[in-house]
Amino acid sequence: MAAIGEQSLRWFSAERVEAEPGWTDVAALVRDYSGLLYRVAHSVLRNSAEAEDVVQDTFVRVLQHNGKLAGIVEIRPWLVRIAWNLALDRRRRIRPEQMDEAFAAGLAAGEMGVDLALAEAGRMKQVLEAIERLPGKEREALLLSAMEELSTAEIGKVLGRSESSVRSLLFRARTRLRERLGD
């Protein structure tokens, strides 16, 4: 009986040791990239709870492809792309415009007075609405460019475009924003 117990213990220990590398990989990814993925998802959804769910779903997907992690060369664009697609998919079910008011109010809150804060919040809300009205690819390139960790090349890999194309999209997006906000 004791032999069986020892054998079982060895068996599960072997499995645990076998499982450890994959789990430690995912745990390291959670530690290193949770913040970035949260910001990426939040830029699309502007909702904290929804962005958290997106980050969690992203790592669940990573866990499902645990065996392929070793073959991925650039892990950051890969993770951002997963979170980006999940956020866009979730965006179809919610309306991020409803969250813009609270987000703009949070941006305007500070040491200024109440009247100035209200006016500033109104301006921020206008900017957010103008960003929402941009064409899809221009909006996506602009939002991803807000992430300081992502280079233009990485944004291109996330969006499936070349680096020069991303630069062109960013230029057109900013130009269109200036035109619309100047009206």
């Binding site: 789990w23 959670v30 949770s34 939040h42 790592f59 807000a146 200036r178």
Partner: protein, 236 residues
């Protein structure tokens, strides 16, 4: 004014790019991912052999079902030798009565069409068991009949010419018509022909008596007298 617009855009983008994740986000996600990994199993790589074992078990189960079904079908196609009838005759209602030796020896089947024995049995004389079986049409047995069985079939199935002819509707109608005509001719009432009063059988003339005159009176007899009574009856 333009600087204000650009500044507003930059502030919004900066705010989006620096959004702070809620406290404890990493820990929560790490716990959730670990929990899902435990639910999925000790190792994701160990899934393949579990699938293989499950597939093999399912294949064995299917093979077992096929074998049992095949055995059942083959058994249905064979007549159980212990319950064969030594001599049977299928009644019009579909019931067959046969004798089965209680000794359990193998006896040939009497009914070439096969009979289904439903187990009703009665003890008869000399230890013989009388079985009452319900005959139901089904497939003939796969095995060939023995010489004795063929003779039995030949004896039981007598090809009567008249019965075979009765299967033809025209012949049957003609035979029935002939039978009806024979019946009618046998039981029909006899037809009596009226006899002539005097002309049919001339009587000897009585002396002194006038001979009846042949005329309308002889052609039309008197209605008060029976037609069968001879006209000379009153004189006798």
């Amino acid at each position: 004014m333009r600087i204000d617009r650009d500044d507003a855009v930059e502030r919004v983008l900066r705010a989006l790019g620096r959004a702070e994740a809620p406290g404890g986000l990493e820990a929560r996600i790490a716990r959730e991912v670990e929990r899902r990994q435990r639910l999925a199993g000790p190792t994701m790589a160990g899934v393949w052999w579990r699938g293989a074992v499950s597939g093999a078990a399912a294949a064995l189960f299917l093979v077992g079902i096929v074998m049992v079904g095949r055995h059942f079908v083959l058994r249905q196609a064979q007549v159980p030798p212990e319950r064969s009838l030594i001599a049977g005759r299928v009644s019009p209602a579909g019931a067959a009565v046969g004798l089965v030796r209680s000794g359990g020896g193998r006896v040939p089947c009497a009914d070439a069409g096969g009979s289904r024995v439903l187990g009703a049995s009665v003890e008869g004389r000399d230890g013989e068991r009388l079985e009452i079986a319900e005959a139901q049409p089904r497939q003939p047995p796969l095995t060939a009949l023995t010489e004795e069985e063929r003779n039995l079939v030949r004896v039981v199935r007598v090809a009567d010419v008249k019965e075979l002819a009765m299967l033809n509707p025209e012949v049957r109608a003609r035979i029935e018509a002939e039978d009806a005509a024979q019946f009618q001719s046998f039981f029909a009432e006899p037809v009596y022909k009226p006899e002539k009063p005097a002309a049919a059988e001339p009587l000897e003339a009585v002396p002194g008596m006038a001979e009846p005159a042949a005329g309308p009176a002889s052609a039309e007899p008197d209605a008060t007298q029976p037609s069968t009574e001879p006209a000379t009856g009153g004189n006798q």
